[in-house]
Structure formats: C-alpha cells, structure tokens
Symmetry: C2
Subunit: 292 residues, 2 copies
C-alpha cells in the first residue's frame, strides 16, 4: 500500500509492505496550500504515479488533506480514539487510478468546553504508540504544538499550543524582530529564555524583556531569536505540566531536540521518536481496517 | 511654556499657563517615525511656530523624542523617581527659536534583573499623581502597556507587557486573523476572552482556542478579534495582579474603558484619568525645575 502524510506545507509519501516496512519514500513541499485550484487528484498522481504503475492499488491519506481546505472533508472523531476507531471511520476519496481512503481527524474539548482539533497528528501518535507502550504523554511540536495523553492504547485527550505560529508572528510583526539576526539556535540563549519562563504566567511581560535585554546589550541580535524561542517553548512546556510522565517527542529532529532541552530544564524527561511515526501509523490503521 | 508629548506615532503639543491651565493644543500624527531624515527641529518649528511667534520661549519635550531614534538621547533615571528627580535631569536640545529641554526616561529592573524602560509615560504618571493621591497603581495601556506602582509621590517600580503589539502581530501574522473582521469591539466576546484568561498561565493554549471556536461556529468573524483582545488584556491584568489596589488608567479613553472592564471582571477596581495627564505632567515637571 501507499501511505501519505499530506499536510499544509508538505507532502510525504511512503510505499509500505504488508508488515509496515518502508519500501520507498518521497517528500516534497507540495502541501495542500501549494496545490493550485484544488487539483489534488492530479497532484497525487504526479507524486505516486510510478508506484501505481508498479501495481500499488491502495492509498491511505492523513493530515490537512482531509480538512475543509483539502480534497474531501473527513469528520473529527471524539477522544478517546485509537487505531481501531480511526480504521472504522476511513473516508473514501474519488480517484481513478487506485482506491484512496482518508484518515479522520480527532476532536476533544478542554475543561472550559473550548474545542480541540487535530489532523495528521493522530496518525503519527498511533505510529508511536508501541514506543509509548500504550500509556503516556506525546508531544508533537510545530506551528500548533499538540500534547496528547495516551491511555490503554488510545488518545485520551489533547491540548494545542500556538507557540510556533506565535513565534513567527512576533518575530516578523513586532519590534522584537528588528533586533534579531537569522542563524542557528544559540543553546545558551535558548536556555535563558526557558529559565525566564519559570516566572509562570508572565509571558506578555517576558516578551517585552526580549527588547530591553537587547537594548541594554545583554542579548545580541544573534541570541535574541533563540531567547524568544526558549521563552515560548518554556511557557508551553510549563503549561502542559509533563512532570512525572516521560514525554515522547514526535516530529522533526531539530525542533524535538529543543523541546527535549526545555522539558529537561523544566524538570521533565523526554525521549525522541524517529521521524517515521506517520508511516507506521498509516500502516497500523490500514492493518486495523484489514486493508493493507 | 509649551509642552510636547512626542511619541513614536503621534505629536501632541500644549500651550500651558504658569499654573498649568491648557491655553491651546495641537495634535498631529507626526510621531518621530514620521519625521524624515531626523529633521526634528524643522518639524517642531512647523508645529509650534505660531505660538513661538506669539512670544513663547520655553519648550519641554517628553516621549520617544528622547530615545536613540529621536532627536537627542536623554538618559534613563532609575526608580524610584518623581517630578523632582525628573526636573533635576532635564536634557538640553539645540534649537534656535526657543529654549528646549527634554524629560528623561525611567528605568527599573524586575525580580529577574531584566531591565525595564519607559519614555513619556513617566510624565503622564506625574500628571496623574494628584488623582493618585501619591500612592497606588497606574496602568497606561497600549502597544507596550505599563503598570507602575506609585509610593510617596514617586514611581517606585514598573512592569511592561507587550499585549498591544502581540495582538496586532497575532492578528495580522497568524491563521487567527484569517477568521476576523474589522469592526467595533463586541463587549460580550471581549468578556468571554477575559473570562478564559482565568485559566492562568495557558495563554498559548488559549490562542489556539480562538481558531477552534471560530471553526465550530462559536465565535463569529466579527467576535473573534474582540475575544482575542479580551484574552490578551485578561492575561495581562491577571499577571499584573491589581487586587486590592485601585488601578488608575491613563491613556486613550476607548482602550482605557476596555481595561477597566477587564480589571473589574478580574475582581479589581479601576478609575479612568482624563487624557491630559501628559500636559499636567509637563507643567508639573517644569514647575519643579522652576522653569515654567
């Protein structure tokens, strides 16, 4: 079968054996925002045509491709949900050259009744479930970071933090960005930002401190972006309160490494999952649907 | 004398009698960012020339005009400081048609040693000191909101929150803004945002909720911006912890009214000062310098 993790800004396809082994992979920046005029069938065919020509006939999609801005809008399943629930809710997608199904997203509500949604992350979490041993805490850092509590092999609840997108907006749209230079993350400056977040609940005040520390020569233009990143990730980690639970980090290695650093500084423990959780999740959901 | 509150984006001049009465006023959008090539002397002459022609010979400036990006860089005085300290530190500015002096800014440090700065707000606070009766809490909402503790007629300490600038950046630079329409503040949606901030320390999570509430039809495009404003101001007010102290709000009336609403919802008490605090402050500082 073919599994595709099709997000807003990236397209990652895997050719998968029946036992889940990855036989081939393909990664492009052709996320759903970069497919003109909603021609998703054409885009898919262009990307996986060679595998179809070699006889693949089943394609399982996950991610924002199932959103209102995507190809077909798949439902949100309420938590708790795991591979079995997702397998029972696969949505068909019209496509000539193969049978295409879509993994549903998940929804939840926090204590205030505010809705929560994810699309794509549920599949990655399912793929990391074995490492999680069925229970624990998963974190998927990104523009909209997800923290999910896993219980009895299912996603029991989750919360989203806008940290990544807030970082980008604060950097490009406020006076803070005027004193920042591009470059690799400065670990010491990042750590200082994380430490500052220990003054819990004062994020809006700490943001102004990025400016004054620069103004008084205590953060260089090179360090400022790393400090801001540490501030935001630190506040996120402290709000998510991972104390006592090992956090399984799922996603791109460089960002996961920063999160691991912040979690350790906040007194938690983190382990990094490999970057193929999506492929494993797609395979496990297909297997649960007896469709692999 | 002539008093000028010359900020980043606005220029407000007052013709003042020796007893502080406002004899005339002039307000333009000619903030320091809108004075080309640093020609501040020309800009000042163009704005207050008629008053100089009528015999005024003393001009006192406050605000960002005294910053590195301004005309002459005035120092920051450390807290605590009041009218007397400011009067003793007026900085001369070269100008042919009158004697021009600049009010210094103030600096402070929070518990972590992170520096704090203000320029212009110190003059407004001095102007509101009488209403404060020498003790209490002043809040000057804006892009960089200032909360100042007043003791024995001086500014004892202050903290800055980036709430206003964060609002603008989140609105223009994230997915949240795509579901927002311009319009007057919706009080009920603003109140919902303030109430949400009661879940202290979870701002980054609450920001994502702006999106999901919109996605699920529980915030209209018209309400979303007001809700986001309530969230940010609510988190700021709770971090500033005004409990037990009356907050004296200094600034533009519509924004001050929103802050008063948020402070009341958080269990505090607020009173609005009039918008002429800057004029009164300039007059009081000049009087303290025996220069009016």
């Amino acid at each position: 079968m073919i599994g595709v993790d099709w997000g807003t800004s990236s397209f990652r396809a895997f050719r998968l054996a029946a036992d889940g082994r990855i036989l081939g992979r393909r990664s492009t920046p052709r996320g759903i925002l970069h497919v003109e005029g909603g021609r998703f069938a054409d885009a898919l065919l262009a990307e996986i045509g060679p595998w179809l020509a070699e006889g693949e006939r089943r394609v399982l999609l996950s991610g924002m491709i199932g959103s209102r801005q995507g190809w077909v809008e798949a439902p949100y399943l309420p938590c708790p949900a795991g591979a079995a629930e997702l397998a029972a809710a696969l949505a068909p997608v019209p496509f000539d050259a193969a049978q295409v199904l879509l993994v549903a997203g998940l929804s939840d509500a926090d204590d205030s009744g505010t809705p929560e949604v994810m699309r794509g992350e549920e599949t990655q979490i399912v793929g990391a479930m074995q490492a999680l041993d069925g229970d624990g805490l998963a974190c998927l850092p990104g523009s909209h970071s997800k923290w999910a509590r896993i219980a009895a092999g299912r996603i029991a609840a989750f919360r989203t933090y806008l940290s990544g997108e807030a970082f980008a907006a604060l950097r490009s749209g406020t006076i803070l960005g005027r004193m920042m230079q591009d470059g690799p993350t400065d670990p010491a400056a990042f750590d200082r930002g994380v430490a500052r977040s220990g003054d819990y609940g004062h994020l809006l005040h700490h943001l102004f401190g990025v400016r004054t520390l620069g103004l008084f020569g205590r953060l260089s233009e090179h360090e400022s972006a790393s400090y801001l990143s540490g501030l935001l990730i630190g506040h996120e980690v402290r709000a998510a309160r991972p104390q006592g639970l090992t956090v399984h980090l799922i996603g791109a290695a460089p960002l996961c490494a920063l999160y691991a650093r912040a979690i350790a500084a906040c007194g938690g423990e983190a382990v990094l999952q490999d970057e193929d959780a999506a492929a494993r999740g797609l395979s496990l959901i297909a297997r649960s649907a007896q469709w692999n």
